[in-house]
Amino acid sequence: MTSRFHYDLVALVIFTVVIVFGVPALMNYDGFELNTFARYLALAIVSMALALSWGTAGLLNLGQAATFGMGSYAMAMHLKLRASNGLPDFMGWNNVPELPLIWMPFESLAFTLLAGLLIPAFVGGLIAIFMFRARIAGVFVAIITLAFLVAFQLLVIDQQGLTGGQNGLTGLAQLSLPGWTVDPYSMGFYYLVAGCLAVALAVGVYLTHSKFGLVLRAIREDADRTRFFGYNVATYQTAVFCISAALAGWAGMLYTMVLEFASPTYMGVSFSLAIVIWCAVGGRESVIAAAFGAIIVNMLEGRLSDVFVEGWHLMLGVIFVLVVMFMPRGIYGLLSELAAKLRRAGRQGNAASIDPSSKTQLETGQEQ
């Protein structure tokens, strides 16, 4: 395989080792700190999901938070049912007489886990089919997905009896798996989230290095040209939207478990734009870099928003502007340019030191 694939595999292993072993040691295995970091890891999944559609396929999905929210609410509905005897409390306050039909299957954990992946994938796929069969591209994808996000959030807030409205779903139980009640402040829970991120990244690395990822990059550059090679561009774009949405839903489920509530702010415009910023800071071309970007920006936010409560959003905006202006390919771009420079320097150094014949070869090679 290509050298780039090897780099990504090495990066994936290092990243996984650091989050699984390094971070807990750095945090002295402190439950509270690890819960905070698990939150960053969950957000890293949604950031890498955006890198798949935006970085690889060039489809800027500003509605990523909607699919994240769907996963988050799916998990919250399950945990809310586990926490209440019969009707969830907020339904009583809203004069809902009995458990609504769409809540019923969420009694089942298996259904919840599937729904948290498949409902976002289905909705994402539906929007994608309409957009991409009509060959909508570029900024219009961003506008349509943003409009969907706003409409979806309004719908969730409006259906107070079903969703808890503005308050969201609070007072959740802890997830109980067979033989394990998942305490979000435990080591076990941290490893669960870190493991999920590692798996999501492995899927992402595989996809970007598969022929699927290659065709998506080709589509990003020139969709029309790619059609003339016989690829059904809309199918590829729809597939990456579905995969990205499912990953976002997965992240949402974990996020609800970390914070122990689900809120309509998870489907907000500012949250969705924040995902774009994380992804851009890390580097949207690489899923690992995008995950890294989410962790870095959120760590910064964790430190700085304590100090500058009001000013933090302004600072985040400034960071985004600076990144777009001075490192449009993010931290990843910076590093890969540096690596390319080092390689070139290394090659020239070698050629100069080995023997004169290879040097002339190199020079004639450059002239051709």
Binding site: S210, F212, A218, F229
Partner: protein
């Protein structure tokens, strides 16, 4: 055997009849050159065959199948390849990756999900050597010179291995030697492929063409071998304007 049959093809762009009642057929393994003054509708004809433009009337049959209303990727799957006038390679992909995209025997989603990005390049061994690009496999296509970019696109079409290849000015910007080499490649391609070539370079046309169609104002003006075309009075009038 007739591979492609175009019958009474029409297309209008806002009142302008770019192609106006064009009919012709192409035999399998033939190299057909389309000639004609600027605006004669040569490129538009290729666009209509490959699906870039939808015709307003007429029929296009590929091996007997009507394709004029098909989406372009379906036509590509039936065996139509296209080289555009402006070299269109993927500039952010490496040379090898460009070839892998072009090698689209299995264009479906599932096969793309289950194979690595360059797994199809192996099937295209030798193509890069043929166009002198094997030392640039890992180079980004955007870093190639103009001539190399032309070669890469030709290599991509060979990799795609379509039975019918539509070439729009393949030798534009090439040196004499490069043009000669292109002619050689085209001749060897015609063993198993059919080519329709739009070209202005008459010496190139003379070397490769089995048959020539001269177009003017969207219709066929003359058809025949190079000798027949060069002595045709109508052609002289169309080109020289009297």
């Amino acid at each position: 055997m007739q591979q492609l049959q175009v019958t009474d093809l029409h297309v209008e762009f806002g009142g302008l009849r770019a192609v106006d009642g064009l009919s012709f057929a192409v035999e399998e393994g033939e190299i057909l050159c389309l000639l004609g003054p600027n605006g004669a509708g040569k490129s538009t004809t290729l666009d209509l065959i490959c699906g870039k433009t939808q015709p307003t009337g007429g029929s296009i049959r590929l091996n007997g199948t009507e394709i004029s209303q098909m989406l372009e990727f379906r036509r590509a799957r039936l065996g139509i390849g296209r080289k555009f006038q402006v070299p269109s390679v993927y500039r952010d992909l490496t040379v090898a990756e460009n070839l892998s995209v072009a090698r689209s025997r299995r264009p479906g989603l599932w096969s793309a999900l289950t194979r690595f990005s360059l797994s199809d390049v192996r099937e295209t061994e030798g193509i890069l050597e043929r166009v002198d690009l094997s030392s640039k496999r890992e180079e980004l296509a955007g870093n190639l010179s103009h001539g190399e970019t032309q070669w890469l696109e030709i290599a991509m079409l060979i990799a795609q291995d379509s039975r019918l290849i539509l070439m729009d000015e393949p030798t534009a910007g090439m040196t004499i030697q490069e043009t000669e080499k292109t002619a050689e490649i085209f001749r060897s391609l015609s063993d198993s492929h059919t080519l329709i070539v739009v070209e202005h370079d008459m010496s190139f046309v003379r070397t490769v063409a089995d048959r020539i169609i001269v177009m003017n104002r969207g219709a066929m003006l003359a058809e025949g071998s190079i000798e027949e075309i060069e002595t045709n009075e109508d052609v002289k009038t169309a080109y020289l304007g009297h």
